[in-house]
Protein backbone atom coordinates (compact mmCIF):
# COMPACT_ATOMS: atom_id res chain seq x y z
CA UNK A 1 0.00 0.00 0.00
CA UNK A 2 1.25 3.52 -0.73
CA UNK A 3 1.89 5.80 2.19
CA UNK A 4 -0.78 8.17 3.41
CA UNK A 5 0.73 11.25 1.78
CA UNK A 6 1.18 9.61 -1.59
CA UNK A 7 -2.47 8.58 -1.41
CA UNK A 8 -3.62 12.10 -0.46
CA UNK A 9 -1.52 13.69 -3.18
CA UNK A 10 -3.05 11.44 -5.84
CA UNK A 11 -6.55 12.18 -4.58
CA UNK A 12 -5.97 15.93 -4.71
CA UNK A 13 -4.40 15.76 -8.13
CA UNK A 14 -7.30 13.78 -9.54
CA UNK A 15 -9.99 16.03 -8.05
CA UNK A 16 -8.29 19.21 -9.22
CA UNK A 17 -7.77 17.78 -12.70
CA UNK A 18 -11.42 16.77 -12.88
CA UNK A 19 -12.61 20.19 -11.73
CA UNK A 20 -10.57 21.91 -14.40
CA UNK A 21 -11.74 19.49 -17.09
CA UNK A 22 -15.42 19.77 -16.15
CA UNK A 23 -15.53 23.54 -16.22
CA UNK A 24 -19.31 23.83 -16.44
CA UNK A 25 -19.75 22.28 -13.02
CA UNK A 26 -18.14 25.17 -11.20
CA UNK A 27 -18.85 27.94 -13.71
CA UNK A 28 -22.60 27.28 -13.50
CA UNK A 29 -23.01 28.26 -9.80
CA UNK A 30 -20.97 31.41 -10.39
CA UNK A 31 -23.12 32.46 -13.33
CA UNK A 32 -26.19 31.77 -11.21
CA UNK A 33 -24.78 33.85 -8.35
CA UNK A 34 -23.89 36.83 -10.53
CA UNK A 35 -27.07 36.83 -12.58
CA UNK A 36 -29.43 36.75 -9.58
CA UNK A 37 -27.60 39.63 -7.94
CA UNK A 38 -27.88 41.56 -11.18
CA UNK A 39 -31.62 40.78 -11.36
CA UNK A 40 -32.47 41.92 -7.84
CA UNK A 41 -32.09 45.69 -8.41
CA UNK A 42 -33.89 45.33 -11.76
CA UNK A 43 -36.74 43.31 -10.31
CA UNK A 44 -37.25 44.91 -6.92
CA UNK A 45 -36.10 48.48 -6.95
CA UNK A 46 -32.90 50.34 -7.75
CA UNK A 47 -33.47 52.43 -4.61
CA UNK A 48 -30.16 52.59 -2.79
CA UNK A 49 -31.61 52.68 0.74
CA UNK A 50 -33.79 49.65 0.20
CA UNK A 51 -31.05 47.66 -1.54
CA UNK A 52 -28.45 48.37 1.12
CA UNK A 53 -30.84 46.93 3.70
CA UNK A 54 -31.41 43.79 1.63
CA UNK A 55 -27.80 43.37 0.55
CA UNK A 56 -26.20 41.25 3.31
CA UNK A 57 -28.99 38.72 3.51
CA UNK A 58 -29.56 38.64 -0.23
CA UNK A 59 -25.93 38.00 -1.17
CA UNK A 60 -25.72 35.29 1.46
CA UNK A 61 -28.92 33.52 0.39
CA UNK A 62 -27.82 33.48 -3.23
CA UNK A 63 -24.36 32.18 -2.30
CA UNK A 64 -26.04 29.40 -0.34
CA UNK A 65 -28.30 28.45 -3.23
CA UNK A 66 -25.36 28.53 -5.63
CA UNK A 67 -23.52 26.00 -3.46
CA UNK A 68 -26.65 23.86 -3.23
CA UNK A 69 -26.88 23.88 -7.03
CA UNK A 70 -23.41 22.43 -7.39
CA UNK A 71 -23.73 19.64 -4.82
CA UNK A 72 -25.56 17.14 -7.00
CA UNK A 73 -22.47 16.09 -8.89
CA UNK A 74 -20.14 15.81 -5.90
CA UNK A 75 -20.15 11.99 -5.71
CA UNK A 76 -22.43 11.12 -8.62
CA UNK A 77 -19.76 10.63 -11.25
CA UNK A 78 -17.58 8.47 -9.04
CA UNK A 79 -20.57 6.38 -8.04
CA UNK A 80 -21.66 5.74 -11.61
CA UNK A 81 -18.29 4.88 -13.11
CA UNK A 82 -17.27 2.55 -10.29
CA UNK A 83 -14.51 4.75 -8.86
CA UNK A 84 -16.14 4.72 -5.42
CA UNK A 85 -16.11 0.91 -5.44
CA UNK A 86 -12.44 0.98 -6.30
CA UNK A 87 -11.73 3.39 -3.44
CA UNK A 88 -13.50 1.10 -0.96
CA UNK A 89 -11.81 -2.02 -2.29
CA UNK A 90 -8.38 -0.36 -2.26
CA UNK A 91 -8.46 -0.45 1.53
CA UNK A 92 -7.83 3.30 1.80
CA UNK A 93 -9.88 5.41 4.11
CA UNK A 94 -13.04 6.77 2.52
CA UNK A 95 -13.08 9.50 5.20
CA UNK A 96 -10.00 11.18 3.73
CA UNK A 97 -11.25 10.82 0.18
CA UNK A 98 -14.44 12.65 1.19
CA UNK A 99 -12.42 15.40 2.89
CA UNK A 100 -10.35 15.90 -0.24
CA UNK A 101 -13.44 16.03 -2.44
CA UNK A 102 -15.16 18.56 -0.16
CA UNK A 103 -12.06 20.78 0.08
CA UNK A 104 -11.75 20.84 -3.71
CA UNK A 105 -15.48 21.56 -4.00
CA UNK A 106 -15.01 24.45 -1.57
CA UNK A 107 -12.08 25.82 -3.59
CA UNK A 108 -14.05 25.62 -6.81
CA UNK A 109 -17.33 27.15 -5.56
CA UNK A 110 -16.90 28.90 -2.19
CA UNK A 111 -13.66 30.64 -3.03
CA UNK A 112 -14.87 32.22 -6.31
CA UNK A 113 -18.11 33.28 -4.59
CA UNK A 114 -16.11 34.93 -1.80
CA UNK A 115 -13.88 36.71 -4.29
CA UNK A 116 -16.87 37.92 -6.32
CA UNK A 117 -18.99 38.94 -3.34
CA UNK A 118 -17.62 42.52 -2.95
CA UNK A 119 -18.44 43.22 -6.59
CA UNK A 120 -21.97 42.04 -5.98
CA UNK A 121 -22.08 44.01 -2.75
CA UNK A 122 -21.34 47.05 -4.88
CA UNK A 123 -24.28 46.29 -7.18
CA UNK A 124 -26.48 45.90 -4.12
CA UNK A 125 -25.24 49.23 -2.64
CA UNK A 126 -23.77 47.46 0.37
CA UNK A 127 -22.27 50.07 2.75
CA UNK A 128 -18.49 49.97 2.58
CA UNK A 129 -18.04 48.66 6.16
CA UNK A 130 -19.71 45.46 5.00
CA UNK A 131 -17.25 44.43 2.30
CA UNK A 132 -14.52 42.80 4.33
CA UNK A 133 -16.96 40.93 6.64
CA UNK A 134 -18.83 39.75 3.55
CA UNK A 135 -15.69 38.25 2.00
CA UNK A 136 -14.57 36.62 5.23
CA UNK A 137 -17.98 35.27 6.17
CA UNK A 138 -18.74 33.88 2.69
CA UNK A 139 -15.30 32.28 2.56
CA UNK A 140 -15.60 30.69 6.00
CA UNK A 141 -19.29 29.86 5.68
CA UNK A 142 -19.07 28.26 2.25
CA UNK A 143 -16.58 25.79 3.72
CA UNK A 144 -19.27 24.56 6.09
CA UNK A 145 -21.75 24.53 3.22
CA UNK A 146 -19.51 22.24 1.14
CA UNK A 147 -18.84 19.80 3.96
CA UNK A 148 -22.44 19.66 5.24
CA UNK A 149 -23.70 19.44 1.66
CA UNK A 150 -21.45 16.43 1.19
CA UNK A 151 -23.66 14.49 3.60
CA UNK A 152 -26.73 15.14 1.46
CA UNK A 153 -24.88 14.34 -1.75
CA UNK A 154 -23.66 11.07 -0.24
CA UNK A 155 -27.11 10.08 1.04
CA UNK A 156 -28.72 10.62 -2.35
CA UNK A 157 -25.88 9.17 -4.42
CA UNK A 158 -27.70 5.97 -5.34
CA UNK A 159 -30.83 7.81 -6.50
CA UNK A 160 -31.19 8.71 -10.14
CA UNK A 161 -32.90 12.02 -9.46
CA UNK A 162 -31.79 12.85 -5.95
CA UNK A 163 -31.78 16.61 -6.39
CA UNK A 164 -35.07 17.39 -4.64
CA UNK A 165 -34.37 15.09 -1.72
CA UNK A 166 -30.87 16.49 -1.44
CA UNK A 167 -32.25 20.01 -1.03
CA UNK A 168 -34.80 18.87 1.55
CA UNK A 169 -32.13 17.15 3.62
CA UNK A 170 -29.58 19.92 3.42
CA UNK A 171 -31.54 23.17 3.66
CA UNK A 172 -32.39 22.83 7.38
CA UNK A 173 -28.74 22.14 8.14
CA UNK A 174 -27.73 25.30 6.30
CA UNK A 175 -29.89 27.58 8.48
CA UNK A 176 -27.29 28.22 11.23
CA UNK A 177 -24.62 29.07 8.67
CA UNK A 178 -26.97 31.51 6.96
CA UNK A 179 -28.01 33.18 10.25
CA UNK A 180 -24.47 33.78 11.45
CA UNK A 181 -23.09 34.57 8.00
CA UNK A 182 -25.65 37.20 7.11
CA UNK A 183 -25.69 38.31 10.76
CA UNK A 184 -22.00 39.15 10.71
CA UNK A 185 -22.38 41.40 7.68
CA UNK A 186 -25.44 43.10 9.18
CA UNK A 187 -23.57 43.69 12.42
CA UNK A 188 -20.61 45.21 10.59
CA UNK A 189 -22.91 47.54 8.63
CA UNK A 190 -24.53 48.65 11.89
CA UNK A 191 -21.11 49.34 13.36
CA UNK A 192 -20.87 46.45 15.83
CA UNK A 193 -18.03 44.00 16.36
CA UNK A 194 -18.33 40.84 14.28
CA UNK A 195 -15.83 38.67 16.11
CA UNK A 196 -18.62 36.72 17.81
CA UNK A 197 -20.35 35.76 14.57
CA UNK A 198 -17.07 34.91 12.86
CA UNK A 199 -16.10 32.73 15.81
CA UNK A 200 -19.35 30.80 15.46
CA UNK A 201 -18.81 30.44 11.70
CA UNK A 202 -15.29 29.19 12.39
CA UNK A 203 -16.60 26.72 14.94
CA UNK A 204 -19.27 25.49 12.52
CA UNK A 205 -16.61 25.04 9.87
CA UNK A 206 -14.21 23.10 12.05
CA UNK A 207 -17.04 20.95 13.32
CA UNK A 208 -18.24 20.25 9.78
CA UNK A 209 -14.70 19.58 8.57
CA UNK A 210 -14.14 16.85 11.13
CA UNK A 211 -17.58 15.32 11.57
CA UNK A 212 -19.45 15.68 8.27
CA UNK A 213 -17.04 13.43 6.31
CA UNK A 214 -17.72 10.65 8.83
CA UNK A 215 -21.41 10.85 8.01
CA UNK A 216 -20.73 11.18 4.28
CA UNK A 217 -18.40 8.18 4.22
CA UNK A 218 -20.99 6.12 6.10
CA UNK A 219 -23.73 7.20 3.71
CA UNK A 220 -21.60 6.35 0.67
CA UNK A 221 -20.96 2.86 2.06
CA UNK A 222 -24.71 2.34 2.39
CA UNK A 223 -25.27 3.71 -1.10
CA UNK A 224 -22.81 1.19 -2.51
CA UNK A 225 -24.30 -1.67 -0.55
CA UNK A 226 -26.86 -2.67 -3.12
Amino acid sequence: MPSFFVFLRHCFRRELLLSFRKRSEWVNPIIFFVSIVVFVPLGISPDERLLSQLAPGMVWIIALLAVLLSLDSLFQGDYEDGSLEQILVSGQSLYWVVIVKCIVHWLMTGLPLAILSPLLGLMMSLPSEGYLPLIISVFLGSGSLSFIGGIGAALTVALKRGGVLLSLIIIPLYVPVLIFGAGSVNAAVDGYSISGQLAVLGALFSGALVLAPLASAGALRIGLNN
Binding site: M1, P2, S3, R14, R21, E80, D81, S90
Partner: protein, 231 residues
Protein backbone atom coordinates in the same frame (compact mmCIF):
# COMPACT_ATOMS: atom_id res chain seq x y z
CA UNK B 1 2.06 -16.14 -0.99
CA UNK B 2 1.13 -19.69 -0.21
CA UNK B 3 -2.17 -18.75 1.32
CA UNK B 4 -5.70 -19.92 0.73
CA UNK B 5 -8.90 -18.02 0.39
CA UNK B 6 -11.58 -19.91 2.28
CA UNK B 7 -15.34 -19.36 2.28
CA UNK B 8 -17.05 -20.83 5.31
CA UNK B 9 -20.74 -21.49 4.99
CA UNK B 10 -21.48 -18.22 3.19
CA UNK B 11 -25.07 -17.18 2.81
CA UNK B 12 -26.28 -14.11 0.99
CA UNK B 13 -29.77 -12.72 1.17
CA UNK B 14 -31.53 -10.14 -0.94
CA UNK B 15 -35.02 -8.89 -0.14
CA UNK B 16 -35.33 -11.56 2.55
CA UNK B 17 -34.67 -14.31 0.03
CA UNK B 18 -31.49 -16.33 -0.01
CA UNK B 19 -29.56 -16.18 -3.27
CA UNK B 20 -27.05 -18.78 -2.16
CA UNK B 21 -26.56 -20.53 1.11
CA UNK B 22 -24.10 -22.86 2.85
CA UNK B 23 -21.45 -21.98 0.34
CA UNK B 24 -18.15 -23.58 1.27
CA UNK B 25 -15.13 -23.34 -0.95
CA UNK B 26 -11.38 -23.15 -0.71
CA UNK B 27 -9.20 -21.49 -3.33
CA UNK B 28 -5.53 -22.32 -2.95
CA UNK B 29 -2.54 -20.45 -4.25
CA UNK B 30 -2.34 -20.95 -8.00
CA UNK B 31 -6.05 -21.64 -8.49
CA UNK B 32 -7.92 -20.20 -11.42
CA UNK B 33 -11.54 -20.28 -10.34
CA UNK B 34 -14.47 -19.59 -12.61
CA UNK B 35 -17.69 -18.80 -10.82
CA UNK B 36 -20.48 -20.25 -12.91
CA UNK B 37 -24.25 -20.24 -12.70
CA UNK B 38 -27.24 -18.95 -14.62
CA UNK B 39 -28.29 -15.29 -14.58
CA UNK B 40 -29.43 -14.22 -11.17
CA UNK B 41 -27.66 -17.04 -9.37
CA UNK B 42 -25.53 -14.54 -7.46
CA UNK B 43 -22.21 -14.55 -9.27
CA UNK B 44 -21.73 -10.83 -9.02
CA UNK B 45 -23.11 -10.81 -5.48
CA UNK B 46 -20.60 -13.45 -4.42
CA UNK B 47 -17.70 -11.47 -5.87
CA UNK B 48 -18.95 -8.29 -4.20
CA UNK B 49 -19.23 -10.11 -0.89
CA UNK B 50 -15.63 -11.29 -1.23
CA UNK B 51 -14.28 -7.80 -1.87
CA UNK B 52 -16.38 -6.37 0.95
CA UNK B 53 -18.85 -4.26 -1.02
CA UNK B 54 -21.73 -6.41 0.19
CA UNK B 55 -22.13 -8.11 3.51
CA UNK B 56 -22.94 -11.80 3.77
CA UNK B 57 -25.73 -12.65 6.21
CA UNK B 58 -24.02 -15.87 7.23
CA UNK B 59 -20.56 -17.28 7.19
CA UNK B 60 -17.04 -15.94 7.08
CA UNK B 61 -14.24 -15.45 4.61
CA UNK B 62 -10.75 -16.43 5.67
CA UNK B 63 -7.56 -15.21 4.12
CA UNK B 64 -4.18 -15.91 5.65
CA UNK B 65 -3.85 -17.05 9.22
CA UNK B 66 -6.63 -15.23 10.96
CA UNK B 67 -10.28 -14.61 10.36
CA UNK B 68 -10.53 -11.89 7.79
CA UNK B 69 -13.07 -9.17 7.95
CA UNK B 70 -12.01 -6.73 5.35
CA UNK B 71 -8.81 -4.85 5.99
CA UNK B 72 -6.12 -7.47 5.41
CA UNK B 73 -8.09 -8.94 2.52
CA UNK B 74 -8.53 -5.47 1.01
CA UNK B 75 -4.75 -5.07 1.03
CA UNK B 76 -4.39 -8.15 -1.17
CA UNK B 77 -7.15 -7.52 -3.68
CA UNK B 78 -7.53 -6.36 -7.21
CA UNK B 79 -11.19 -6.05 -8.12
CA UNK B 80 -12.72 -5.32 -11.48
CA UNK B 81 -16.48 -4.87 -11.47
CA UNK B 82 -19.03 -4.18 -14.19
CA UNK B 83 -18.20 -0.50 -13.77
CA UNK B 84 -14.45 -0.33 -13.86
CA UNK B 85 -13.65 2.97 -12.17
CA UNK B 86 -12.21 4.50 -15.31
CA UNK B 87 -13.06 8.19 -15.30
CA UNK B 88 -14.13 9.53 -18.70
CA UNK B 89 -12.65 12.98 -18.15
CA UNK B 90 -9.14 11.70 -17.39
CA UNK B 91 -6.58 10.30 -19.77
CA UNK B 92 -5.63 6.63 -19.72
CA UNK B 93 -2.39 7.41 -17.91
CA UNK B 94 -4.05 9.68 -15.35
CA UNK B 95 -6.57 6.95 -14.58
CA UNK B 96 -3.81 4.43 -13.92
CA UNK B 97 -1.77 6.91 -11.86
CA UNK B 98 -4.75 7.50 -9.62
CA UNK B 99 -5.50 3.80 -9.29
CA UNK B 100 -1.98 2.92 -8.24
CA UNK B 101 -1.73 6.03 -6.09
CA UNK B 102 -4.54 4.45 -4.09
CA UNK B 103 -3.61 0.80 -4.30
CA UNK B 104 0.12 0.68 -4.85
CA UNK B 105 1.42 -2.63 -6.09
CA UNK B 106 -0.22 -4.49 -3.18
CA UNK B 107 2.75 -6.83 -3.22
CA UNK B 108 2.76 -8.78 0.00
CA UNK B 109 6.46 -8.59 0.63
CA UNK B 110 6.51 -4.79 0.78
CA UNK B 111 5.72 -2.72 3.83
CA UNK B 112 4.21 0.74 3.47
CA UNK B 113 7.56 2.49 3.70
CA UNK B 114 9.25 0.34 1.09
CA UNK B 115 6.50 0.80 -1.47
CA UNK B 116 8.07 2.52 -4.46
CA UNK B 117 5.93 4.95 -6.39
CA UNK B 118 4.74 3.71 -9.74
CA UNK B 119 6.70 5.33 -12.49
CA UNK B 120 4.94 6.43 -15.65
CA UNK B 121 7.16 4.04 -17.60
CA UNK B 122 5.65 1.05 -15.86
CA UNK B 123 2.14 2.33 -16.49
CA UNK B 124 2.76 3.16 -20.15
CA UNK B 125 4.27 -0.27 -20.56
CA UNK B 126 1.07 -1.79 -19.16
CA UNK B 127 -1.00 0.26 -21.59
CA UNK B 128 1.12 -1.08 -24.45
CA UNK B 129 0.51 -4.59 -23.17
CA UNK B 130 -3.26 -4.17 -23.51
CA UNK B 131 -2.89 -2.74 -27.01
CA UNK B 132 -3.21 0.93 -26.18
CA UNK B 133 0.14 1.98 -27.57
CA UNK B 134 0.12 5.75 -28.02
CA UNK B 135 -3.16 6.20 -26.18
CA UNK B 136 -1.71 7.16 -22.80
CA UNK B 137 -2.59 10.84 -23.19
CA UNK B 138 -5.98 10.38 -24.82
CA UNK B 139 -9.01 11.36 -22.74
CA UNK B 140 -11.04 8.23 -22.05
CA UNK B 141 -14.18 9.99 -23.23
CA UNK B 142 -12.82 9.79 -26.77
CA UNK B 143 -12.18 6.05 -26.59
CA UNK B 144 -14.41 3.16 -27.54
CA UNK B 145 -16.03 0.98 -24.87
CA UNK B 146 -13.50 -1.77 -25.49
CA UNK B 147 -10.59 0.62 -25.18
CA UNK B 148 -11.88 2.00 -21.89
CA UNK B 149 -12.20 -1.55 -20.65
CA UNK B 150 -8.59 -2.12 -21.68
CA UNK B 151 -7.49 0.88 -19.63
CA UNK B 152 -8.94 -0.85 -16.58
CA UNK B 153 -7.45 -4.19 -17.59
CA UNK B 154 -4.01 -2.61 -17.84
CA UNK B 155 -4.02 -2.80 -14.02
CA UNK B 156 -3.53 -6.56 -14.36
CA UNK B 157 -0.14 -5.95 -15.94
CA UNK B 158 1.14 -3.89 -13.02
CA UNK B 159 -0.54 -5.11 -9.87
CA UNK B 160 1.13 -7.66 -7.63
CA UNK B 161 -2.00 -8.24 -5.56
CA UNK B 162 -2.29 -11.97 -4.79
CA UNK B 163 -6.06 -12.18 -5.28
CA UNK B 164 -7.73 -11.02 -8.46
CA UNK B 165 -11.51 -10.77 -8.48
CA UNK B 166 -12.75 -10.15 -12.02
CA UNK B 167 -16.42 -9.79 -12.85
CA UNK B 168 -16.94 -10.29 -16.59
CA UNK B 169 -13.46 -9.02 -17.47
CA UNK B 170 -13.75 -9.90 -21.16
CA UNK B 171 -16.83 -7.83 -21.97
CA UNK B 172 -16.29 -5.73 -25.11
CA UNK B 173 -12.80 -7.16 -25.68
CA UNK B 174 -11.90 -8.62 -29.07
CA UNK B 175 -10.67 -12.19 -29.60
CA UNK B 176 -6.96 -11.37 -29.70
CA UNK B 177 -7.34 -9.22 -26.59
CA UNK B 178 -9.09 -12.02 -24.73
CA UNK B 179 -6.30 -14.44 -25.60
CA UNK B 180 -3.70 -11.99 -24.29
CA UNK B 181 -5.65 -11.53 -21.04
CA UNK B 182 -6.09 -15.25 -20.57
CA UNK B 183 -2.33 -15.61 -20.80
CA UNK B 184 -1.98 -12.99 -18.10
CA UNK B 185 -4.46 -14.77 -15.82
CA UNK B 186 -2.59 -18.01 -16.28
CA UNK B 187 0.72 -16.30 -15.57
CA UNK B 188 -0.69 -14.85 -12.36
CA UNK B 189 -1.79 -18.29 -11.20
CA UNK B 190 1.55 -19.85 -12.03
CA UNK B 191 3.15 -17.21 -9.80
CA UNK B 192 0.96 -18.52 -6.98
CA UNK B 193 -1.84 -15.99 -7.25
CA UNK B 194 -5.56 -16.68 -7.02
CA UNK B 195 -8.05 -15.59 -9.68
CA UNK B 196 -11.79 -15.61 -9.19
CA UNK B 197 -13.68 -14.62 -12.31
CA UNK B 198 -16.96 -14.85 -14.12
CA UNK B 199 -17.52 -14.90 -17.85
CA UNK B 200 -20.23 -15.85 -20.27
CA UNK B 201 -17.81 -16.33 -23.12
CA UNK B 202 -16.27 -19.67 -23.87
CA UNK B 203 -12.69 -19.48 -22.82
CA UNK B 204 -9.69 -21.52 -23.79
CA UNK B 205 -8.18 -21.37 -20.33
CA UNK B 206 -6.52 -24.49 -19.00
CA UNK B 207 -6.91 -26.00 -15.54
CA UNK B 208 -9.97 -24.05 -14.51
CA UNK B 209 -11.66 -24.98 -11.28
CA UNK B 210 -15.27 -24.05 -11.30
CA UNK B 211 -17.44 -22.89 -8.47
CA UNK B 212 -21.00 -23.67 -9.50
CA UNK B 213 -23.49 -21.56 -7.64
CA UNK B 214 -26.29 -23.94 -8.61
CA UNK B 215 -24.82 -26.28 -5.98
CA UNK B 216 -25.55 -23.73 -3.30
CA UNK B 217 -28.97 -22.66 -4.42
CA UNK B 218 -31.25 -22.75 -1.40
CA UNK B 219 -33.87 -25.49 -1.28
CA UNK B 220 -37.53 -24.62 -0.88
CA UNK B 221 -37.38 -24.92 2.88
CA UNK B 222 -34.35 -22.70 3.35
CA UNK B 223 -35.29 -20.14 0.72
CA UNK B 224 -36.71 -17.72 3.22
CA UNK B 225 -34.27 -18.52 5.96
CA UNK B 226 -36.55 -21.22 7.38
CA UNK B 227 -35.44 -22.91 10.57
CA UNK B 228 -36.13 -26.43 9.34
CA UNK B 229 -32.67 -27.33 8.11
CA UNK B 230 -30.69 -25.17 10.47
CA UNK B 231 -28.32 -27.22 12.53
Amino acid sequence: MAQSLIFNNLGFERDERYIFRHLAFQANAGDLVQVVGPNGSGKTSLLRVVVGLLRAEEGTIEWGEKDTDSSSLAHSLLYLGHETGVNYALTALENLRWYFGLNGSKAHSLSEAEEPEMTDEVLVHALNAVGLLGYSDVICHEMSAGQRRRVALARLFVSAAPIWILDEPFTAIDIAGVARLEQQLQAHCSRGGIVLFTTHQTSSLQNIRSLDLADFKPTESSLYGGELDDA
